[in-house]
């Protein structure tokens, strides 16, 4: 595992151990160095003391060239086991005596070296002048001491240093293991809390706060964040619940409305079926008695007309006219009903062509009349062609009818923009109407002219409006008495 991925506990422990180890190492090194230096000083001081004592003792033997005496003096060095070799040179630089006595000659330098104490070849070498106080030099003393004691001291202090270091490191490790918890514990607790939050999605847990330091601040901030998340989550949940409730309410409402609509549709269907049955029955049954009334009046006129006076015959004619008029009324009403219940089949309808056809038809049925038709070409609309034909027949035959007394009748079909909408218009220069009664124009059985003036049932324009309304359009009229009428409609 790379160092940066170590758990924080191990990192802290390692850091503490590294620091204390390093410090200990430096301290130990200083300690050992000091020990060795001190020992070295002491050793060389001891050797120089020894050198001076022996040199002082050796003056007589050198002065009198007493070799045995010199050897005797040197042999006292046996008390100092670390002195491995010693030599006494005379003033001329010749070796006079040696220690120990069996020392090979080449173990000592051939002549006296310069005075002083120094290390050389792993030994401490001391060279001391031999002289009476205040007189000339008699010779030179050479001492060679091994460094076993120094090495021993070095080993001892190194061992002590190593021991101290080991104990210190162990203590440091134990302390580090204990103390790192102070820092790592809150972090680990935070990490554990964060893990619990992310795995269980439980925002109600809180990280325990251990201290008031930066970690405490971090823990507080983390807990606060959790609190806020928990609050928002709670709010969200509440919103969701509210929303669900509202959806449920709305659904319920919609279901109720749907139910009402279904009921309405069923009622409408039933009403339509009733109307259908009613119209069918009217179509069959209502005309039969009229046929009898008209028929037998005619029979009476044919068979017994001669026996009746003029008034009697007139009455019979009136009966016949009334029954025929009622038949027309019934037919018109049935057409209106049919327009209402007919199924719409929408397609593009050539309105101009349709208007031309109807105009031609009107001219053909009344060849005696002449009227000018001005039909704009190329007008089309989407709608049910059969229903639109009924509407056009009504509108154009109205114009045809109401221009009958006009010397130069003119009937126009075109289109125009009214308040930004595209509207069609049928215009004539006929009898027109008083705008006071404009709202009555499209009502069933509403007539603005007497039957004597112009024939009619008052159902035609009601039928037209029904057709336009079924197409989602609007119809309105403009006119003045004896100045013609204009019918506008949208589809």
């Amino acid at each position: 595992m790379p160092l940066r991925d170590w758990p924080i506990k191990r990192k802290l422990t390692a850091m503490l151990l590294l620091i204390s180890g390093l410090v200990l190492l430096l301290t130990s090194a200083a300690f050992v160095t000091y020990e060795v230096a001190t020992f070295w000083q002491t050793t060389s001081k001891n050797l120089s003391t020894l050198g001076r004592v022996i040199a002082a003792n050796s003056t007589a033997s050198l002065a009198f060239a007493n070799e045995a005496d010199a050897r005797e003096i040197l042999s006292a060095l046996r008390a100092e086991p670390h002195v491995v070799a010693a030599g006494l040179y005379d003033a001329d630089g010749r070796l006079f005596a040696r220690y120990p006595g069996d020392l090979p000659g080449d173990s000592l330098p051939a002549g006296p070296e310069r005075d002083g104490y120094r290390f050389a070849h792993g030994y401490l070498i001391g060279v001391e002048p031999v002289a009476e106080v205040g007189s000339e030099r008699l010779g030179t003393l050479y001492l060679k001491s091994n460094l076993k004691a120094v090495a021993r001291t070095l080993r001892l202090s190194a061992a002590i240093a190593a021991g101290v270091m080991a104990i210190s490191l162990l203590t440091a490790y134990v302390l580090a293991a204990v103390l790192q918890g102070r820092i790592s514990q809150p972090i680990l607790a935070l990490a554990e809390t964060a893990r619990a939050v992310s795995t269980r999605q439980d925002y109600s847990v809180r990280a325990p706060k251990v201290s008031e330091d930066e970690l405490g601040v971090l823990t507080d901030a983390f807990n606060q964040m959790l609190g806020r998340i928990e609050a928002s989550k709670e709010e969200l949940r509440r919103y969701a619940t509210e929303l669900e409730q509202r959806v449920a309410e709305r659904t319920h409402e919609l279901e109720q409305r749907n139910e009402a609509l279904r009921r309405n549709a069923a009622e409408l269907l039933a009403a339509n079926q009733e109307l259908d049955a009613f119209a069918y029955s009217v179509s069959h049954d209502l005309r039969a008695p009229l046929r009898s009334i008209d028929g037998f009046s005619q029979v009476l006129l044919e068979d017994s007309g001669a026996q009746l006076d003029e008034a009697g015959r007139g009455a019979l004619h009136r009966v016949r006219a009334a029954s025929q008029r009622m038949a027309t009324l019934i037919d018109d009403l049935l057409r209106l009903a049919r327009v209402t219940r007919a199924e719409m089949r929408t397609e593009v309808v050539d309105l101009s062509g349709m208007a031309r056809d109807i105009a031609a038809e009107l001219q053909r049925t009344t060849p005696a009349r002449q009227a000018e038709f001005a039909i704009a070409p190329g007008l089309t609309a989407r709608g049910d062609p059969r229903l639109l034909r009924v509407a056009f027949e009504n509108l154009l035959s109205n114009s045809w009818k109401y221009t009958a007394k006009q010397p130069r009748p003119r009937i126009e079909f075109g289109s125009v923009e009214v308040d930004g909408t595209h509207a069609f218009l049928v215009r004539d220069n006929g009898a027109g109407f008083d705008m006071k009664y404009a709202d009555k124009l499209f009502g069933v059985f509403q007539r603005l002219h007497s039957a004597a003036e112009f024939e009619g049932t008052g159902i035609g324009l009601a039928t037209v409006r029904r057709i336009i309304t079924r197409h989602g359009g609007r119809i309105w009229a403009d006119g003045a008495v004896d100045r013609g009428a204009t019918f506008y409609f949208t589809l």
């Binding site: 069918y280 046929r291 028929g295 025929q324």
Partner: protein, 146 residues
């Protein structure tokens, strides 16, 4: 003139009287047999248990639609279903001009559909045209062999 009979299927006595009069007034002297409902019409054409059907079929059937017991459409269906009467000229003569009646009538095989006008003068004219056409102009299908 075709000597065949006319079968008038009509429940309204006024209409029977007026239709008969209208036919007669134009010298259509053919016998008019009247069936007052659908069942009578079927019995006349196909016979009953006691009385077999007449050998000769009528030249034309003038058929009203709204009839008691068996309505006009059902009568027409029975006529077209039987091999002997399958080709029999049938003219629907009724009050209604409801589109569905016209469509159903022709679908079931009516030869013509005439709406009775309220105006008796027009009605008489229609009867005359019918008589002239179906009894004089029209080449009737051959009488079926028994």
């Amino acid at each position: 003139m075709n000597a065949g009979k006319i079968l008038l299927v009509e429940d309204n006595p006024d209409d029977v009287a007026l239709t008969t009069r209208a036919l007669k007034s134009h010298n259509i002297m053919n016998d008019v047999v009247v069936a007052h409902d659908g069942v009578q019409a079927i019995e006349y054409l196909f016979g009953t248990e006691g009385r077999p059907a007449s050998d000769e079929l009528p030249a034309v059937v003038l058929l009203d639609l709204k009839l008691p017991k068996l309505n006009g459409m059902e009568v027409l269906q029975r006529i077209r279903a039987d091999g002997r009467t399958r080709l029999l000229p049938v003219v629907i003569l009724t009050s209604s001009d409801e589109e569905r009646d016209i469509i159903e009538g022709y679908t079931l095989g009516a030869n013509s559909y005439v709406r009775k006008p309220v105006n008796f003068v027009e009605f008489t004219e229609a009867a005359k045209q019918l008589g002239l056409y179906w009894l004089l102009m029209n080449q009737a299908p051959p009488q079926p062999r028994r």
